[in-house]
Symmetry: C2
Subunit: 194 residues, 2 copies
């Protein structure tokens, strides 16, 4: 047992209380996460994240988070933001990392530093339509964690394993999710009237 | 035919030339996209995106793009960034939007505005470990596009359909991707020596 109090900045008591409460009121556990996206020019878009639904009511982040996305100059774009696939890597990295901190807190393991490097292999013959047998997305993703913590190598590995088991984005990336796309044609006149 | 030149800001000629060139040199089409992530405190992390590999050599974005991710206050976190799952929605939104612009350019359709709203349903009984039959990720994702363009409703719908067919993130979300996780225990002493 460590003699000093373990503090990774995660309020595990609150999370355990939420687990207890939501187990009794499963309708409050139904969340809706949202993003909006506005086309700027070319492959450049700006997305925003603020409102979401959960615990039975509308919720709001403290601030609106905005994200520019674009393609790099080697694709004849202006490189005004990360590429959409890099955003997915960031989502995966941050989900696993938050999980490591939460699990470490629950297991009373003091973290000193956690760093992750992610690499997603992609054959762009897929998205360019050169070869229809090549998938559009990543062939595979490699995640490498460097973790400094008051624990054995085995216990540190177990932190990451448990984080994977509870990670929303790890699930989204490794398993299929149904996506429904609806299109509203606004003012579509077909004649270039404006 | 429109009498004015269609310009959505996408250099389709360059993309078609790249398709031609990469079809003859498939090894140049092998890309590696990367992100690094550093744990800050609690569920807050900061990720960075800059280098990637493609066209047979190391490449760099013009700038380093950084992303704070966190959980909201209702999860007893400090809400210092979007949640990881919202980042995935942003990746999906921006990928489909860039595709709509590129396809429209190729089909000589002038876009006036493109806006997307995304909504991902999630039962957080999964990530909280309340019910092991509930998945951690999204139950499903709904995307709604509002598009104003010089084209018929049918042609506008076809833009989005083609964008889905070539979208890297749409593929990543709707199909499984293998993720390998490696853990290095740095300075792991197990005794709280520092």
């Amino acid at each position: 047992m460590a003699t000093t109090k373990v503090d990774n900045g995660v309020n595990v008591d609150a999370l355990l209380a939420a687990r207890e409460a939501l187990g009794k009121a499963p309708e409050a556990a139904q969340f809706n996460w949202r993003a909006t996206c506005k086309w700027m020019n070319g492959t450049h878009s700006r997305s925003a994240v603020q409102g979401f639904h959960g615990l039975g009511q509308e919720q709001k982040h403290k601030t609106t988070f905005t994200f520019d996305a674009d393609h790099p100059e080697i694709f004849a774009s202006e490189d005004k933001g990360a590429t959409p696939v890099e955003l997915v890597l960031v989502g995966l990295a941050s989900c696993l990392t938050a999980g490591v901190a939460a699990v470490a807190q629950n297991r009373k393991i003091q973290l000193r530093s956690v760093e992750a490097k992610l690499e997603g292999k992609m054959d762009i013959q897929g998205i360019l339509g050169i070869d229809s047998d090549v998938r559009n997305g990543f062939d595979d993703i490699k995640v490498t964690f460097d973790i400094d913590a008051d624990a054995s190598k085995k216990d540190i590995e177990a932190l990451v394993e448990q984080s994977q088991k509870r990670s929303a984005v790890f699930d989204i990336v490794t398993n299929p999710t149904n996506v429904t796309v609806k299109v509203n044609a606004v003012n579509a006149a077909g004649g270039g009237a404006r």
